[in-house]
Amino acid sequence: MIEPLRISFEVACPPDHAFETWTERASAWWPPQHTVSHQPGAEIVFEPRPGGRIFERTPQGEEFEWGEIVRWDPPRGLSYRWHIATDPANATEVEIVFREMPGSTTRIEIEHGGWDRLGEIGQAWRDANRAGWDGVLPPYAEAARS
């Protein structure tokens, strides 16, 4: 099995706000370069239920499917199948846990897996993951505080 990518970092707000920010206000913070349309003003929608769609809607009303909600458990976490810019048959799986920490802080734990079914591309991820993913975010988080 190809090991999932794992990332975690802390955010100075309670889990309910973190969950709401992730799912209801993604349009406000999702990096525009990681949308399908690359259009400013694109709306990002998480339909709040298992089976709900995750999609991008451009100001012109064009929609691009990004994935589908599998588990919906606010404010503790959610998981979704993720096939942004690819065929749904090539979906990977994203699980996000919002863990309450002391001092009104939330630890966000992201696990991005399901690479096995991607064939040769999956093999590339397997090789990439040998180097480990811990610490992807800390330098960025440091920059965000300054």
Binding site: H17, A124, D127, A141
Partner: protein, 83 residues
């Protein structure tokens, strides 16, 4: 499918070659390192922007009681910016 491949191409995971009427894609040798860099960049950007936004906004639908709800409505969701 071609859109997916063009994304992977831009990410440095595959390279392409036009052969007659067909375009052939193959997995690049340094694809693994490119994949790692690409995903690190994506999740890094996502994480940083999420963190900045979450820490500088307040809940729209607080669950802690009606008094706070009123106060937040008055204050607005972005009032903590710059504090």
């Amino acid at each position: 499918m071609s859109r997916h491949l063009s994304v992977l191409n831009r990410a440095g995971l595959v390279s392409d070659e036009q052969v007659g009427a067909r375009r052939l894609y193959r997995l690049d040798e340094p694809g693994a390192e490119a994949a790692r860099r690409y995903l690190a960049q994506v999740w890094g950007n996502v994480g940083v922007r999420f963190k900045l936004f979450a820490e500088n906004t307040r809940p729209r639908k607080p669950s802690r009681g009606p008094r706070e709800l009123t106060a937040l409505r008055t204050a607005g969701p972005r009032s903590s910016r710059g504090s």
